[in-house]
Symmetry: D2
């Protein structure tokens, strides 16, 4: 049976996987990265091996090593380390789930398979259940990304059946823009200790360097100081909007995080390509003009 659940609270950053110039994983900076998130950004929860972390570009063996590094380095510093164990192959997903349990992760998350696709809600839940069953003591999160997976199943409908079949179900990472669907998830499950993480992966990735400002926004809202909250929100949006116009993705996230944190994230691995020199120069110049974000370079 699942141990009493510790609710996931506060911002959750989707971690980048740092790499060397040759595209190998650079484990040596993960400790420093943990400290940066906690001390500089006020972020104490992480989502490892997701889209931002190039999780599906890594081999299964690398995904295990990366998960282990974050759990180890995060011990006594981070609140929760959730490992994304989704894969196109159920067997590999199960292997990663078992491994996450062995290393003492705080939860696992799974995306719906998106090459061959489940026909309907029931088949999707069956697939997820098989993964969840491989880590029966770990909280389970469904990573809902309808735009990528093409599964036309609203999250709210999924919640109906998922709890009976997956006793460890504890919430979802809602990477969609259907606010009605999200609202219904929150509404129908208010009394339970589920976590509903809102945001596309690109947003989660920004908590790596905008966590502090985002926390300020949340605190201002909490004390009903809307004017300050709105100012924080506009600061954040202006920066994200700026990089979106330059072309924003995982490669660019690595470049920005390197500039802001001073920790070398390195290039991405193929099929991605390093952010262009022009992009980096533009961001560097922009950072110099901001007062809430600075460039360590």
């Amino acid at each position: 049976m699942a141990s009493p659940k510790k609710r996931l609270q506060g911002l959750v950053a989707a971690t980048i996987t740092p790499m060397t110039e040759h595209g190998e994983i650079n484990f040596s900076v993960i400790g420093q990265y943990v400290d940066y998130l906690v001390e500089k950004q006020g972020v104490k929860n992480i989502f490892v091996n997701g889209t931002t972390g190039e999780g599906l570009s890594l081999s299964v063996s690398e995904r295990r090593q990366v998960a282990e590094a974050w759990v180890t380095k995060g011990r006594n510093k981070l609140d929760q380390v959730v490992i994304h164990v989704g894969a196109l192959s159920l067997k590999e997903s199960q292997e990663l789930a078992r491994h996450a349990a062995e290393i003492g992760a705080d939860g696992i998350a799974v995306i719906a398979p998106f090459f061959l696709k489940p026909w309907n809600k029931d088949v999707l839940i069956n697939f997820l259940r098989e993964v969840a069953a491989a880590a029966p003591a770990l909280p389970f999160y469904y990573y809902h990304v309808p735009a990528l997976t093409g599964v036309k199943i609203r999250a709210e409908e999924l919640l109906d059946g998922i709890q009976e079949k997956i006793p460890t179900f504890q919430g979802l990472k809602f990477s969609d823009t259907d606010l009605l669907d999200f609202g219904q998830c929150v509404d129908q499950h208010r009394q339970r200790q589920f976590a509903f993480l809102f945001g596309v992966d690109e947003l989660f990735s920004t908590y790596n360097y905008l966590g502090k400002k985002t926390n300020q926004m949340l605190e201002a809202f909490e004390r009903k100081d809307f004017s300050s909250a709105l100012n924080c929100q506009f600061c954040i949006q202006r920066f994200i909007n700026f990089v979106i116009k330059l072309g924003f993705g995982v490669s660019q996230t690595k470049a920005i995080m390197t500039l802001v944190s001073g920790i070398p994230m390195g290039p991405p691995r193929l099929p991605l390509q390093k952010a262009s020199r022009e992009f980096t120069d533009n961001v560097k110049a922009k950072l110099k003009s901001l007062d809430f974000l600075s460039c360590t370079d």
Copy 2:
């Protein structure tokens, strides 16, 4: 350097991966499957671990075993065994390419990554080159599926650059409906020994049981007997159209092949689900009404 190339000629069937009722690979029927293709369908080339073969639903270790089984059982019976080694992770794709070379496969094929995606033609070619380089003696085929990969790169444009960068390039499996693009591929490369396999995977999968009729069509066309060729084509299309209306995919292909060949293909693995009893009954009834295809059940 690549050995002198043996051109891929004739129908190429995308193989199904036979499974037991519990979803484990059923290696025991692969020998029988080879004989069926050669003797009953006149098909002597196969494409292993593609969409039809649930290649991306298998673990890397299973993909190696399946590839090895087909190469071993096909020896001295099949003309060419092409192994699909595409994967979301470059490292895993390279491992599979190396393995294909070790076991003596006749070629490898690679789909463009479709989670994180290459930005442009050059990055895609870079990715493919890294895979091809892991099996420098094997003919390399690009598996072009723009609908799945979202890569808006026409095959014809890709051909421009690919040959310099990938000396083992020997053609493509063109799974798109852009006939102009396909026509241009054929036109611009008429003098070279490239193979341009036309057809979406669902079509390739039908050669498993419609290979004989398809060969009859090709022979009639070859001797300019259009009327017979057209009759063959309509026979084939009527059957495919019939199953498309019932809902057609990999699960259904497994059910049809089991009925027609008598070799148990078993259910698919999650995220797919076994074809419904209703589907199977409908197909069985249809087969009984046809004279060019029969039901072994």
Copy 3:
């Protein structure tokens, strides 16, 4: 030169076009409809001949008559009557714009053409300018529906150039889910008297019968009573979610509005079909279980 602008404030309902059982426009109930919106729903602004009003299913001559009816019946009762004059044909759009000015409408709105499509932002603005110029004294709203029009132009980018070229530009109806884009529109234009109407057309259509509850939500939020605001929001969302699961569109909006208001909206016109009896029965039963919405039937 444009007259001093009266800012659009409060909810704006997308009006339904009432029809007889034979699909002809039923002008006789528009006066009653105006009174219902103002007195029962607290809605004083309307958007005429949009998606909900089947504007593009009407002939140009009918669109003129419908616009005139709303302006006439709304006089001294409604705050603003905005006429959607978008059409695939620029000439027809201009004719409708001129007509809106003649009858004394308070503004016009235009969707981007979506059969042949503008290549880029500049061409789109040129098109909109030609329409706006036909009604030089009327406030102009851009009806931003990227999902329908396929124009991959973010609203925020459009705002950069639109004001110089279209002096009557006064805001947009933002029917998209890109909250960052919407946030940037609001941020960059806070000081000006622009109106940024947020919501897909389905949402605007619900103000026809959920206007009162929506106003309660806005008032609660205004006085920082989040708990009440949230309760209102969940009431609204639960109802909309209920109908979405049954299949929700313009036909269904007509049926719901007929039930809730008691004013006969009639069936839609082809290519739409009347909501099914089953839908109506389901909604009727649901309405009987709600305390904030009732059924007049």
Copy 4:
């Protein structure tokens, strides 16, 4: 009752609507255009006011005038003049159908409405029937463009029901890439006098200037001279491929036709924009290098 049907045979060109530099219709060159099609391209059937003709960018009144001009100028020269009367508004479509009958057109074609959309096959057929009934003596063609209309109805399925409901149904313009669907249409209706026109509108538009070469290809195929047919096909494809790479649409078709025929087609109307000078220069240079197409400029 419908008069005995004259079957549509041979190439059908989608006509361009010639315009003046100010975007008004240039009726003065239509007679010359007819002669060019018949004498230089061997094309004797036309499809008026379709996508290529910017039909939906014209006002209803202009569409009537254009239709009349082609029918009048084509008399005793062209075999068949088919008028596209599709519109988002059923009433306008009916008006155009009645008008086509009055002026003596040889047939009408209708696209499925694509803003508000029919839910299913039956509703679509009901819509089409209402249009067809407005011209009960004219052959009726369904203009099948699933990519534009989003109606997920295969043409083959539509044929099942359409003949009972629309006695004047005489075929379809199949603007899709689903060859199986097209094959089934042809197969199931071989004995009837239906016309199945294959090709996306861009292809139909090329018969304006590639009609002669296309006829050569068809003749070569007819006499089973595959080698010549293939050479013709590659000539055609190379040219189309060349312009597709430059960016190909209605604007570009106008520019190419002006260059090849010497008849001024003028610019397109907004929301389209004139092809760039760079495009025209590139095409001019290309034409000079070809022996089967020349530039009159």
